[in-house]
């Protein structure tokens, strides 16, 4: 009996730690989505699909053209950042005065476009980078280096965004706009430029997430669907536009998925997370950390 408990505990601990590691990447995704929402007041339904395009970019650069991973990663981040800016310029900007739902649905159209573009261009095969990182054994627990690396890189990315937002003029302007959209234009801030920069930044975060996810998961045109919905849940639970709420919610969800996956299939982890989300909506409808009005 004692032996059984020991094993059980170790698996549990392993799942908890894996959950934290997964949470890093989810927090990164939530941060990007929150940034866009907080500043431009638009939800990019197609956010996870931008990540998917980034994963393909990594795959092709590393597998086909033999570019080293560490050269390909910045290029991918740049590419997805440009995609983000383009998305804003072509789709969101003409709709800024339209009802918010229209903006959201238009990005839904972009989701279709990106998914089917990937299907047409790359086919529906699962592809992976073929980089096999060693497994780190710690005591009786095993962790993949890929996850550890992603977690650390995601943290670095988030710290970088934090510094950008607090230490630079542009970052300050972005934060100011998220507080009051109308006034900032009167204060002499070029809102159009700030929107474009924010979109590129959101894209860059998606690109970074792509570089990290491609280490752990296979790429296929519908890969966005496996973490897109969960990212939306995280953002809503944390409060849309609330960076800290999103950060914490990401870890809460990652733990639920990871622990749920321990007892059953990974899909059930997702279902559990959704059930948890519904319950939380009854308790804290405006998000985990909503200030009481």
């Amino acid at each position: 009996m004692q032996a059984f408990l020991d094993i059980f505990d170790i698996y549990l601990l392993e799942a908890v730690i894996n959950g934290i590691l997964l949470g890093g990447v989810l927090a990164l995704l939530a941060l990007g989505l929150n940034l866009i929402f907080g500043v431009i007041d638009v939800t990019w339904i197609c956010y996870a699909e931008l990540v998917m395009i980034g994963m393909y970019a990594m795959y092709f650069m590393v597998q086909y053209y033999g570019v080293s991973y560490f050269v390909a990663a910045p290029l991918t981040i740049l590419l997805v950042a440009i995609l983000g800016a383009l998305l804003h310029y072509l789709v969101i900007a003409p709709l800024l005065t339209a009802p918010p739902i229209n903006q959201l649905l238009a990005t839904g159209g972009v989701l279709f476009v990106l998914q089917s573009f990937a299907t047409v261009a790359f086919g529906i095969d699962f592809r992976n980078l073929g980089i096999r990182l060693p497994v780190l054994a710690f005591g009786d627990m095993n962790f993949s280096y890929a996850r550890l690396l992603s977690f650390l890189a995601a943290l670095v990315g988030m710290v970088a965004v934090y510094l950008f937002m607090t230490r630079t003029f542009t970052g300050t302007a972005i934060r100011a706009i998220s507080q009051d959209r109308q006034i900032m234009a009167l204060m002499g801030v070029d809102t159009k430029r700030i929107y474009l920069i924010t979109s590129a930044l959101g894209g860059a975060l998606a690109g970074l997430a792509a570089c990290l996810l491609v280490l752990q998961y296979d790429v296929h045109p519908f890969v966005g669907l496996s973490f897109g919905p969960i990212t939306f849940l995280i953002c809503v639970l944390g409060g849309l536009g609330n960076f800290i709420g999103g950060f914490i919610a990401a870890f809460v969800f990652a733990e639920i998925i990871s622990l749920g996956g321990l007892f059953s299939d990974l899909e059930w982890g997702y279902v559990l997370a959704f059930a948890f989300f519904i319950v939380m909506m009854f308790i804290r409808p405006a998000g985990l950390f909503a200030r009481r009005a």
């Binding site: 919905p229 059930w268 909506m281």
Partner: protein, 321 residues
């Protein structure tokens, strides 16, 4: 007004007579698909027109289709009983998700994202329970023994299906019109303008929204079940998930969100588009139809947000005025 009723009667009579005069099975098949999807799109638009944008309808459709098929295959429950059960299940799901949303004023972006997650989760459940549902490989209802087709709601005959689909489509339009003419419509319009003001004016915001959502979800589940019975094959991607939800939004917006026949026009356009591309490109078409959908959806939302039929109706109104 009278001339309008006559026009409807003639149109309906022509639609009923059509399969007896024109029997090309492929074209009939297309018509059946158009009618079933028109019904699904109409049920989406019943709530979509009041700014209640749901991306969870893929989930309701999936519940309708899978519950009906699972009950038939595993328990031998006839779809005649299974379909109502599946509709009740979808309705329960709708209430469980929508009640907290409405009760706690989760609107706009939040509502869309929550419902989006709902359809994603239904997809995950279908995939996760692959031992029963066949997972992403899809699922086929068992063939009924000969002579029991009616009991199993399985017909080999395209004309029967055409008439069933036509009947359901007409019911959908009638429900749309009933909602359009009811007090609920005014209540919902007030709510979509300003919830607090509507509540202050004595509208029970939560109850009204829940009512509309429930109607819409029940109809969508029925559409899923009928689709399953007709096609005799369902897969998570064709009846549930975000793709299906977005397809509904796309069709309705292209056709026209605020007019009775808008969703139908949307269904005609999307299905003909998909079929043309499929025939034109053959197997290479995989993905192309969605690519075109996506681009059109973006273009329509930017340039023609009222949809084709809605814009035409507006033009006509201008000319009259």
């Amino acid at each position: 007004m009278n001339s309008r009723i006559i026009a409807w009667a003639i149109g309906l009579a022509a639609l009923i007579a059509l399969p007896f005069l024109y029997r090309d099975p492929y074209h009939l098949h297309l018509l059946v698909l158009i009618l079933i999807w028109s019904f699904a799109y109409t049920s989406w638009s019943i709530m979509g027109r009041f700014n209640l944008v749901s991306l969870g309808h893929g989930g309701f459709m999936g519940v309708g289709a899978y519950v009906t098929a699972l009950l038939w295959n595993h328990l031998g429950v006839s779809p005649w009983i299974g379909i109502p059960i599946s509709m009740v299940m979808a309705g329960l799901l709708a209430v469980v998700v929508a009640y907290p949303c409405f009760r706690f004023r989760i609107t706009g972006h939040y509502f869309v994202l929550v419902t989006l997650a709902l359809s994603g989760i239904v997809l995950q459940v279908i995939t996760a329970t692959r031992d029963w549902t066949g997972g992403s490989l899809g699922y086929t209802p068992n063939r009924a023994r000969s002579g029991q087709g009616f009991w199993a709601l399985q017909f080999d005959d395209k004309i029967t299906w055409y008439l069933i689909a036509l009947g359901i489509w007409v019911v959908g339009l009638i429900i749309w019109r009933a909602v359009d003419r009811s007090m609920a419509r005014y209540a919902m319009e007030a709510i979509s303008e300003d919830e607090d003001a509507a509540a202050a004016a004595g509208v029970n915001v939560t109850a009204e929204k829940l009512k509309i959502t429930l109607i819409s979800a029940l109809m969508t589940a029925l559409a899923g079940a009928i689709y399953c019975q007709y096609q005799m094959f369902i897969s998570p991607d064709t009846v549930s998930g975000i793709g299906v939800s977005l397809q509904m939004v796309f069709a309705v917006i292209v056709g026209g969100l605020y007019v009775l026949l808008g969703p139908t026009v949307g269904a005609v356009i999307t299905i003909l588009l998909a079929e043309t591309l499929r025939i034109g490109f053959g197997t290479k078409a995989v993905g192309w139809d969605n690519l075109v959908y996506g681009v059109l959806l973006v273009l329509f939302i930017i340039f023609l947000p009222k949809g084709i039929l809605g814009s035409i109706a507006e033009r006509l109104k201008f000319r009259k005025a």
